[in-house]
Symmetry: C2
Subunit: 188 residues, 2 copies
């Protein structure tokens, strides 16, 4: 299947359940990818997100140079790569080549999007120098969003029993998989 | 079991996997509880967190008056209550009484902690008026943290097959349960 566009007012639902994401970035010929468990939705429409990008990372350098980045939501099949790209710096080698990570072009930004993910959010930095310096906190406006239609369509996740699932980083090499879907009645 | 103290440098692990939380607050005789899917860890030590608290909420009023709040991590048994307290305002009635939610006292702050949860983070607001006004974004320092030892001990979650699980809000009355724990090797 190929990614399909997610209407921007539904983009927050890609992050609402708290998955760990991979942050991709690019500036000129340089590109990088890192893992980020510390991310959240921040607004509905226009959609905004928040993500923590440490000062020491190569990703930080590329994001500050380009003003853009993408959040890629990996499935469990990418869990090993998620740990690997979170454990070394892209200053030292091309993580995409090293870990055989294929990408495709984003629509609105330079950062590549990672193949094999469940969904993607293309973001433009809303500059907030104090947050960036004091807390390593970046706020982005989501300018395009995409999802694999087999797992997210019509504004909702559809994670059937055999569907690939998003992942939730804990520590070390440990994750939780996104688990069972359930519904509760809404009371007044 | 009774809640046991979580060492502050491990407190981020309570939120790392992206659970939906219940935000409790109090000021004087007034108290409230609301749901917040939009939360994340922001720093390790001293631990900080970020959470979105809408301007129109009663919780916002109590947090701005008291400078403190707690994040309570509910289990699936509290999912119906999580939707309910997220669907009405505490200005209109006492949500704790209405939904029969029992509480116990926090150690460092006035906000009550909700019984039946898996873990609790007591937070003091780090005032950031621009973030609060512009993005409804609150940053808190975690000043005490607690967990049910049956599910979190020695700095790690231990969600065995029959353990109560945290929940991840999607939309409407839909949630994902925190799923299977898995480990991947760390490659260089």
């Amino acid at each position: 299947m190929s990614p399909v566009s997610v209407p921007l007012p539904k983009a927050y639902r890609l992050l609402n359940h708290g998955p760990t994401v991979l942050v991709t970035s690019a500036h000129g010929e340089r590109r990088n990818i890192m893992a980020a468990a510390w991310n959240m939705a921040l607004d509905f429409d226009p959609p905004k997100i928040a993500v923590v990008i440490d000062k020491n990372t190569y990703t930080r350098e590329l994001i500050e140079a380009s003003g853009t980045f993408a959040l890629n939501i990996p499935s469990r099949a990418l869990a090993e790569a998620t740990v690997a790209v979170g454990s070394a710096s892209g200053r030292d080698y091309d993580k995409f080549a090293e870990h055989r990570l294929a990408t495709f072009a984003a629509e609105q930004i330079a950062a590549p999007l990672l193949e094999g993910c469940l969904a993607w959010l293309e973001c433009k930095v809303i500059p907030e120098p104090h947050n960036q310096q004091q807390y390593d906190l970046f706020i982005g406006e989501v300018v395009a969003a995409w999802a694999e239609p087999g797992v997210f369509h019509d504004g909702h996740w559809h994670l059937e029993a055999d569907a690939p699932r998003s992942i939730h980083y804990v520590a070390g090499g440990a994750f939780f998989e996104t688990g069972e879907t359930f519904n509760v009645g809404q009371r007044g």
